[in-house]
Amino acid sequence: MKTETLNRQDAEGLRDEPLVIGGRTFQSRLLVGTGKYPDMDTMVRAIEASGAEVVTVAVRRVNLDRTKESSVLHFLDPKHFFLLANTAGCYTAADAIRYARLAREAGFNDFVKLEVIGDEETLLPDVQGLLEAAKVLVQEGFQVLAYTNEDLVTALRLEDAGCAAVMPLASPIGSGLGLLNPLSIRTIKRRLHVPVIVDAGVGTASDACVTMEQGVDGLLMNTAIAAARDPVAMAHAMRLATIAGRAAYLAGRMPRREVAMPSSPSKGMLD
């Protein structure tokens, strides 16, 4: 009963539109990865706790010795989640295109989280290769969600190339450093028409909240949940933080000022 009341209040407090990417509508603005979990059972429970509908997966060789089941689909029902295949690990446009085509052939959808990595240490994107791959994949009918850095001009070029969403990073993949450049993220959001999903770098719930407060359309994370001491509890926290950040953005924060303003009336004080 109490939960029901809270949920009604949540719905009342958040007059929002659903997230629409490439013609698909999603209720949750939190998208999550499926990598690096201590075990598959924890992964499944964490993803459920996150409330995410979109889950990312990677394309890799099957294990030929068949000693263990390694497909993530053995544990996650593709009827209940929207599978977003990534091209993680690809360092050239040609490789990313190859992985995207293989992913599409699995037969779930034509969405791809496009990554073309340019540097091994920082995993920062190769924006030239990214644009090249995005153009080819858009031409082939893919809905491309492009993982990029927080550079406005690259984001604009990706939108021009026909990407369904642009996904600038908060900070490097797996770093947990949080949102390093809020101004750039806000600028990208202000200038683009396609959804902006911040992908990578969130470390804890406050990072998720502050990122959503910039007005971006969504948030994608993996390590922050998977590498938490209790991934299921962190997934829950991330769900709430994403909703809270979005609600605060829609509410419109008070202006910042550098001097104090009393909250109580200055009139009516005793002599």
């Binding site: 990598g35 690096k36 997966v57 030929l64 990534n86 992913a103």
Partner: protein, 66 residues
């Protein structure tokens, strides 16, 4: 007959189709995507493609990732 499957050298029976190869490897054709000499072979066409000596075959699926 020698082929390369997922980067490993393998000996397989001569004249098998990709579909028969999957069966030999105990893989469900609905659960893998097949690339044959760099070309994706659609699921419905796996029985039409015969593997020949020296072919390179990639068998992929979805794993956990971010």
């Amino acid at each position: 007959m020698d082929v390369v499957i997922n980067g490993e050298n393998k000996k397989i029976s001569a004249g098998v189709t990709l579909l028969e190869l999957l069966k030999e490897l105990e893989l469900d054709p609905r659960a893998v995507v097949v690339e044959h000499n760099r070309k994706i072979v659609r699921r419905a066409g796996l029985g039409d493609v015969t593997v020949t000596d020296g072919d390179a075959i990639e068998l992929v699926h979805f794993v956990g990732g971010g």
